[in-house]
Symmetry: C2
Subunit: 439 residues, 2 copies
């Protein structure tokens, strides 16, 4: 993409309303624009990151055996009355009356609707287990939306729902998602720690939040410091195998959100020098809640003994749009964003230092064409701007690599290759630069 | 995907509420499930088709030089008051009050919001032209939603907005979208005819609808029969070239929707034997509307002479979710859907006629593995069901190819390969079948 033709309205000034760094940088880099309080439009640069995160989340859901569906944003209030949550949910639920006076709502979550789909389709244990997920916009009418996409009102969430015959089956599904979440966050370049958590309005008695440690986090978390050294999970997970040992390994040390925190247990179980008390950002939340919804909504299946029982369910959420902000909170410096390669909007920023010089522009066009041919995503700054402004903007938007073409180096057949993370610069030949970036 | 593990709740009975064939077949094939009036959940099979159509639409937008953004579903009423459409839009607009009593709405279209994004970001002719699109759910509160996803209330639409300095520029953008639409529909296996159309609530004075002829279409259309023989556009379009001759060629013959139809002109311009009067389904609609929104919303840019002028705009919609139904309306038979290969949920249905027979299952597993290795999307019917039921279900869901493995043929080293379109069957060796499907 040529920057001269790209819609990337960066801001020179730091917007006054942005309290945290991810919000500031997303506005400054022209990734998002506020449409109204807590509601954002995603501009091309931000949209690319959102889509990459979404795709990684999707691939890891599929790999774990979940199947993708898509439920609508607008739901009828009737189902929520059956589950008892219509009144219980409170003012955060955006309630709507349609033209015929029917009570509707903008889904803040989908337990009711997926249970309805399940109950009209599945009758027998033979069709279990099932995991169905979707990636859809949700709305929660926060009193005071803030922190940009980190606590917006309209937000993109992946929510998965598991259906099993009994607790043992449901625990297997829970474990699959537990492991799948570790893999997902590791692929995003994030260290997310599973912590025992309260179940809140979803209900149930088994729940973990996946937390990224960051000073700007919304809640306090407590854990054993050794967990911070645990490795993410590699490619080699077999989801058909028994995952309980993996889950045990990750949950045997103390790690709890503030709702679940117990100072006495913390001090008993964790040696003083290992006690970590930090702020954290929730990027995922998994629940087992048994028959909380299947009973009132009568989602029943026949057992092998031909008894009719309420299906055991769990739900598993990842805040996809929130993750864009979370990645930035975890990876930035004074100059701007530092994208992990897996979610970077482009891999390479190609900077033409002197557009008016024929040799510079010719070299840049060649590099641009060769990178594109090799399938490397490149943003080419072909604008007639000062070098300083170009460097600052490229640092701000945080692409993993910068390839700088200027007249002086080019005379010697060299270009400059800069790694955004760390800032190392190297003068190399054009061929070396291309080999590194396409390798 | 193994059918035994796939969530595809087909229906034996034809649902009474479905008036048209696409609605009936989508419900019967387990593609969608109604959530409430005019609002649908997309189940795995339907979701795959929706995503494939979305991706083709996206690729053709990108190719034409448009850039993808994503605007939210919920908008503030303020902008719509500025454009004057808040009161004008009527009861089809889903109006919402948030917890602070602010007037919001579920976007039925996005002219106002994209104009707001533009006006706060672009100031100069140097940054023109721009085409920004998104693929997002919209809501129109139809009095009487019907025909399934063809006239639902919550629907997925691609809407693109162009920004140019003047009419000449805007006409070029219009032409790009005109050509891009021809390519898009051709890739979807659809013959869509551009017809001069009324501009309706969007406003403006230049507009074409892209219409698929079908007896179940919602409106009457009139055209010169020769247009039906026009070829779709091949790969070789250069969007930087002058597209006016292409547009002229496609618009010189009479083709109008009922709003624009003039019987006198029709009879004068079209010889009696060439007059086509049919019903049609609108799958795309393009508009040039000049400064209708940029003037009230003050989206101004500086000209080369440093004058400030309202930007010239157009908007360009494709009904993505509606297209799923439209493709079925255009391609089905008594037995079910016949998917064009480009949008088929899977390319091949592999039918194991005797799951209990070890050789059948062994052969199927091998074929299944080989097809997946070759990147062919295959749905493997590994269930212990009657052959008749398997055939009927595979015909119903309409995958382009069926590969049937039964004990009698297998003894001779043969399998049956069936083309869903046309129904030709052939007994061929396993190797031949694989070569055909992976070639």
């Amino acid at each position: 993409m040529r920057l001269s033709a790209y819609f990337m309205p960066t801001l020179k000034e730091t917007p006054a309303e942005a309290e945290i760094v991810s919000h500031r940088l997303m506005l400054r880099a022209g990734m998002v624009r506020q449409a109204s309080a807590g509601i954002y439009s995603w501009l091309p640069l931000g949209f690319r990151v959102l889509k990459k995160i979404e795709q990684i989340v999707r691939e890891e859901q599929d790999r774990a055996g979940a199947q993708e569906v898509l439920m609508p944003t607008i739901q009828s209030a009737d189902l929520w009355r059956q589950s008892g949550r219509y009144d219980a949910y409170g003012a955060e639920m955006l309630r709507i009356e349609d033209r015929h006076g029917r009570d509707m709502l903008y889904g803040p979550t989908n337990e009711e609707l997926i249970t309805d789909i399940f109950r009209t389709s599945v009758r027998s244990y033979r069709d279990l287990p099932r995991m169905l997920y979707h990636i859809q916009w949700k709305f929660r009418d926060e009193v005071r939306p803030r922190f940009g996409v980190m606590r917006g009102r309209e937000f993109l969430m992946k929510d998965n729902y598991s259906f099993d015959l009994d607790y043992e089956g449901a625990k297997k599904s829970y474990n699959k998602m537990f492991v799948s979440y570790l893999r997902t966050f590791a692929r995003l370049g994030l260290q997310a720690i599973p912590m025992a958590a309260d179940t809140g309005p979803i209900g149930g008695d088994l729940s973990h939040e996946f937390i990224i440690l960051a000073d700007t986090g919304e809640s306090e978390v407590f854990c054993h410091g050794d967990i911070l050294d645990f490795d993410g999970l590699g490619e080699g997970i077999d989801y058909q195998s028994d995952l309980e040992p993996v889950v045990q390994a990750w949950t045997k040390l103390y790690a709890r959100t503030d709702d679940k925190h117990d100072p006495a247990v913390f001090e008993r179980e964790v040696p003083a020098e290992k006690r970590v008390q930090r702020r954290g950002i929730e990027v995922g939340h998994i629940f087992y809640f048994g028959t909380t919804y299947s009973e009132p909504l009568k989602a029943l299946v026949a057992t092998p003994e031909d008894e009719s029982v309420a299906v055991h369910m769990g739900s598993y959420g990842i805040g996809v749009s929130r993750l864009v902000g979370a990645v930035i909170e975890a990876s930035h410096d004074e100059a701007g964003i530092i994208w992990p390669e897996a979610v970077a909007p482009f891999k390479v920023g190609l900077i033409n230092l002197k557009v008016a010089a024929a040799d510079c522009s010719k070299a840049c066009e060649e590099i641009y064409a060769k990178l594109q041919e090799a399938g490397v995503e490149v943003l080419y700054d072909d604008r007639d701007e000062r070098a300083g402004a170009k460097f600052a903007e490229m640092d701000l938007i945080g692409l993993p690599w910068q390839l700088v073409v200027g007249p002086r180096s080019l005379d010697k057949g060299l270009v400059e290759l800069k790694r955004r993370a760390g800032g190392q610069r190297e003068e190399v030949s054009l061929e070396t630069a291309l080999a590194r970036l396409t390798g």
